[in-house]
Symmetry: C2
Subunit: 337 residues, 2 copies
């Protein structure tokens, strides 16, 4: 089978590609080709696999060329992140709406030529939820909570959920939207996402660097690991339509946790000297965005697919440390200091 | 002030134009120019008013030209209807999504040149609601019921609601989305909407013609008159943002009524001979679409704006009869037969 991962060079996408290549199969079929489409080049370790083809460039520019290509499965992860979309409205429309529409239309085109419908998993986001004056946000957002997004990013994710549901209803594809919770600990440098600090307050101290937390310690949020997220995307792909249940998006599992508890876990795993590298310095712009985010999420439909959250935040930190030990020990130099 | 009505030559749009011209003001300002943009020519009676300018053509083609035009207010009603969108997927995307996006971007462009944000009322639809296997539809849909549309038309309306909310959040316009209930009695011929029979079973018997009802008499649905709908659109335009309450769409008022009760009302107003011109002949395609529609709707936020449903269905029929007496007495020839 031939698979496409858009955004496949990113943190979640590359991990998904790695996992799929290691499994060798998806939904009982052997994976013979894996196309990674991304604005950035995929990691060399992935490109070294004979099954992998990397394609660098904007998805919008690539989509037209996908019309006659026989993909059995697609993981559509490519997206401009929340901070980018707030800063550049047109970039968000182009990267998140126009690109998705072009991808869906390419898959529809092939279906109209007689091909079977491609199966597509879309990475939506917990950012579809937010408080609207007319509709208060519940403390814990469920699969069927009314989404009232408070960012362009969340708006675009919700719109894509709806487009995919309608293309699926029409039989143009077999689409499933899964809402990713905030994934932490992301390696590398801070990115444009307003949620970037959820990784920074763990990653920087472990690297021996100071980290500023831009929100209060009482801020609560649903978070999970990259491994748990990738498990969720694969399970959603492999579910029967009946097991997936309907055409609306589902929430992936998360731990609902405060910043304080995250730092307690950091101290438990890495000791007080690492923990003490985090200082609180409120950033009103970030704090304002985060204040509109859910404090927790539930994932009843994902649970029916056998998906569970990580047991605790310590396990998430330990996963990050194990990953760094394998690929980038320098990221842990604060651990031994 | 200068106003644009897209779809202003249609049934609701022309009635709205007529009402605005008769009032002479909107939100306390004098209406000096009223542009009616529509694929069809506006009624001659409207074009005869010196304040009116008619523009015939697709909205998508017209939108670019709107970028430098100083509209204070916009009623965006132009849309392909549900039956059309089901029959022609690309037509629906173009007419309902691309056109709305182009209109919003034209208004955003002007705002970015320093103009104040235009106020925009969008006619969304009760068709955003539907039953999804994962989310059963409540018997009565409220303002904050989770929309899970079961048609492309409903999907597009929901997407436009979300786009307008986000453009409003960013300050590019002052947008308000109001969900229209099924408007009846529409004059003229049946159209491509699956809801067309809700007018046909009243209109045809009054004209002395036989009418086939494609669904069972027990089918219940939220319906209202064109006058009540126009009142709602104007009230939503004139509301303060605080009174409108948030950026999510609100339901306009409706009577929740069965087909049987509609026919009882027809008999009460027009007599048994008129009523007997309706025969039941199930159309599986129409019945299947309608089975996914809400059986009733509530309108709590509209009520706070002072909006009420028609007192009963008899009043809706009487409004249609009065309209026909004024403009097209031939449409009532069944009444005297």
């Amino acid at each position: 089978m031939k698979i496409l991962i858009t955004g496949g060079a990113g943190f979640v996408g590359a991990r998904l590609a790695q996992r799929l290549l290691a499994r060798g199969t998806l939904g009982g079929q052997r994976i013979t080709q894996l196309v990674i489409a991304d604005q950035a080049a995929a990691p060399a370790a992935l490109l070294a696999d004979a099954r992998v083809q990397g394609r660098v460039g904007a998805l919008l520019a690539q989509a037209e060329g996908l019309r006659d290509e026989a993909f059995d499965g697609v993981f559509h992860l490519a997206s401009a992140v929340s901070g980018e979309c707030e800063a550049d409205f047109e970039l968000g429309l182009r990267s998140n709406l126009d690109s998705t529409r072009a991808l869906l239309d390419a898959l529809r085109h092939r279906r109209e030529q007689g091909a079977p419908p491609a199966r597509l998993v879309f990475s939506s986001s917990v950012a579809v939820f937010g408080p609207d004056p007319a509709v208060p946000l519940p403390p814990v957002v469920a699969d069927d909570t009314l989404p009232t997004p408070q960012t362009s990013y969340g708006t675009h994710k919700l719109i894509c959920e709806q487009l995919i549901a309608d293309y699926t209803r029409k039989g143009y594809l077999d689409g499933r939207a899964a809402r990713l919770m905030t994934v932490t600990v992301r390696p590398g440098r801070p990115n444009g996402a307003a949620s970037s600090f959820f990784s920074g307050i763990i990653r920087e101290p472990l690297a021996g660097e100071a980290s500023l937390c831009p929100v209060d310690a009482t801020v609560s949020h649903p978070v999970t690991s990259v491994g748990n997220t990738v498990d969720g995307l694969i399970a959603v792909y492999e579910a029967s339509r009946e097991a997936f249940g309907g055409r609306t998006a589902l929430n992936l599992p998360a731990i609902n946790i405060t910043v304080q508890r995250m730092l307690d876990a950091l101290q438990a795993v890495a000791g007080p000297r690492v923990r003490e590298r985090v200082r609180f310095e409120r950033d009103e712009r970030i704090a304002g965005i985060v204040a509109n985010w859910p404090k927790g999420a539930s994932a009843a439909r994902a649970a029916k697919l056998g998906l569970k959250p990580e047991p605790n935040f310590e396990a998430i930190i330990e996963q990050y440390i194990a990953d760094c030990r394998a690929t980038n020990p320098a990221a842990l130099k604060g651990l031994d200091a």
